[in-house]
Amino acid sequence: MTTTAFPPLSAAARRRRIGGVVRRDLAALRRSPIRIFEIVFWPTVELVVWGFVTVYLRAGDVPFIVSALLGAVLLWQILHRASNEVSMGFLEDIWSRNLLNMHVTPLTAAEYLSGLVVFSLTKVVFSVAVMGTLAYVLYGFGILTVGVALVPFMAVLLVLGWALAIAAISCVLRFGEGAQVIAWSLVFVFQPIAGVFYPVSVLPSGLQVVAWFVPATHVFQGMRDVLGGAAIPWDRMAAAAALDVVYVALALGLYTVTLRHARAKGRLSRFGE
């Protein structure tokens, strides 16, 4: 048997390893139609529920609220899916007792997380495309109404979702499989304070201060501004991007510390049992 490999520290080897994670997850998706169903099912349920609420509101002649709610549902799904898909990739390695196999390869932590992130991006794009189409067909709301602002809005939410997922993965590494509920629920901690479906001004004043430290708050407020006819709030987007950098840095720091702790305490080995 002959094997030729790229030098392990070369860019080609790194790309090949990240690609390996992505291809594996894509293959798993292809082999499991239930997961494709899941990508479409929950976002669709949420869209339909909120869509009918907006139909009701439309009867009261409040078109701005209608657009704001539908836009919020769509953008929330970006954050939610970005977070959940990365967490799922990691949890599937635990559930299939494959995590140790991954950790004895030359794959670095950064490459592993990059692979999960790239794969999640494909699922999020697919999911949003389905939802955007449904919103247009069922309720006449075109997500593109938001215009070019959609690009920074999506980017901020994607990066925040990935940061939350990495933090959730870190919790599982630190506290074991029992902590996997965090992977599902962490993103929802931010829903009430990020002003997803209502302006931040309705929150108690103390919570408003906290809310502006959440990148998503700037996005949802910005979306309402744009739908209300204002210009793209680039200052808000800059603040959100800066906060994203802080969140990602904290999440990666947490991951590094918990991985080191898991190796020191032998917890990583227990994921293989």
Binding site: A5, R16, R24, V104, A264, E273
Partner: protein, 251 residues
């Protein structure tokens, strides 16, 4: 009790060198000042009763568990500092590990071939499938395979990168005697042909006697004896390795 003999391959290059490894989990000393070497072309065994510290030792050698003290050098490189370069040339298989069940065998192997940075994953997967006689399984999902078939796929995964150091934790535990025998022949053949080193744990004493050039016997987190199967039997004044095992386990 500490009866350690000199290495059996004094002239050969050490692929793996572990010095004074120690690991405690709370009040329990899992591994206590374990030193061992595995030379180029050598098949070494790590034996001992349950809880002797074998798996913890293997996991330290793979970087899954960080030693409290001691040093690990593989191919002359410090494992901690050269993790990617070292693990690129190492592989591992264990009876307790799984693979993503929803994937077809060829998809699993293709993904791992990429994780080892192989240039032509499909070619390597085909070659390793032929070697392990799992060609007919390539298009089946992992979850649909018997435990014996899954073991062979795990071993195929472990050979993908033609490792210079192959670490196996009870490699044939799930195999029937015929399949186990064929896998043992294959692994010995691979070690001889490829010239790499192998470190295995097993509770099958005949397997260890047949495969291993040298055996490190562990008990209570320590290596208490090192030698060939015959040397260990002499050392403990019993007939064979099985009796050595029973004697140590019951002490």
């Amino acid at each position: 009790m500490r009866r350690v003999r000199a290495p059996a391959h004094p002239g050969r290059v050490a692929i793996l060198q572990a010095d004074l490894l120690a690991k405690r989990f709370g009040p329990v000393t899992a591994v206590d000042e374990v030193s061992l070497t595995v030379a180029e072309g050598e098949i070494a065994g790590l034996l001992g009763p349950n809880g002797a510290g074998k798996s913890t030792t293997l996991h330290m050698l793979l970087g899954l568990v960080t030693p409290d003290s001691g040093r690990i050098r593989i191919f002359g490189l410090d494992l901690e500092r050269h993790r990617t370069e070292v693990l690129n040339q190492v592989n591992f298989s264990a009876s307790y590990l799984g693979l993503p069940g929803v994937l077809q065998v060829r998809e699993v192997l293709d993904a791992f071939a990429r994780l080892y940075g192989l240039r032509r994953p499909a070619v390597t997967v085909a070659e390793v499938a032929e070697l392990l006689e799992i060609g007919p399984l390539l298009r089946r999902k992992v979850i649909d395979l018997s435990s014996g078939q899954q073991t062979r796929v795990q071993l195929a995964k472990a050979l993908l990168n033609r490792p210079k150091l192959l670490i196996l934790d009870e490699p044939t535990a799930a195999l029937d005697p015929d399949a186990g025998d064929r896998i043992r022949n294959l692994l010995v053949g691979v070690a001889r042909e490829w010239g790499g080193a192998m470190l295995i744990t097993s509770h099958n004493m005949r397997e260890v006697e047949r495969m291993c050039d040298r055996i490190h016997f562990m008990s209570g987190g320590r290596i208490i004896a090192t030698g060939t199967a015959a040397e260990l039997a002499d050392l403990f004044d019993v007939a064979d390795l099985e009796e050595v095992f029973l004697k140590v386990a019951r002490q």
